[in-house]
Subunit: 120 residues, 2 copies
């Protein structure tokens, strides 16, 4: 469970960068080489290579064999982990809202509609 924390550290950090999110978006359509990925950006090839490395270390992406051409391939597993983490707390918060709404409804019922003045 603690290694999940490390994976989440790396995954969230990896996606905190716009260029890397864009790489992910493009890789969702098709695998690509580093050179292909780098082409549209106003940035050195080395910089893109580093971004891909970050994505790979975060487990968001896998690469083919050590070779000249090594296409980058998107991997869904860590996305699952992140999605579950987010969904969990999103769900809890929404539950709390609903409980709060219910509570407020009950309060309004009890008070029968008085004190509608101090809502900021």
């Amino acid at each position: 469970m603690d290694e999940d924390a490390e994976r989440l550290d790396r995954a969230f950090a990896a996606l905190a960068d716009r260029t890397r999110r864009d790489l992910v978006a493009r890789l969702a359509g098709a695998d690509a080489t580093v050179g292909e990925l780098a082409e549209p950006y106003d940035m050195s090839l080395q910089a893109v290579s580093k971004h891909v490395k970050v994505l790979a270390e975060a487990g968001l992406v896998t690469r083919s064999k050590d070779a000249q051409r090594r296409p980058v391939h998107l991997d869904a597993e860590v996305f699952d982990l992140m999605a579950k983490w987010i969904e969990r707390y999103r769900g809890e918060v929404e539950e709390r809202y609903q409980r709060l709404d219910a509570l407020l409804d009950r309060m309004v019922d009890d008070e029968d509609g008085t004190r509608a003045e101090d809502a900021s």
Copy 2:
């Protein structure tokens, strides 16, 4: 759409830190003050205050009025944004897997079961 990118930048960056994810997890259960939040950590109050500030600037959390006691409250909206982003690409990747599987199935059918050697 571009400001969404900034919101995602901040939101993913905010959740890339374990302490802040823990704060979110605790706030999902109940609102709390900075002091309450800081108590379990081996860290100064100021450090926790900074973490809360990061969460607030990411829109993950809202705070009550400028005052002495200002409880911190989890906000679900940006979670939605992140969840949607992740789900989108996760979904595309899974689709591609399925298409790839289908393609491989067809190839196997065509070749009638030869060449099962070079799977790495």
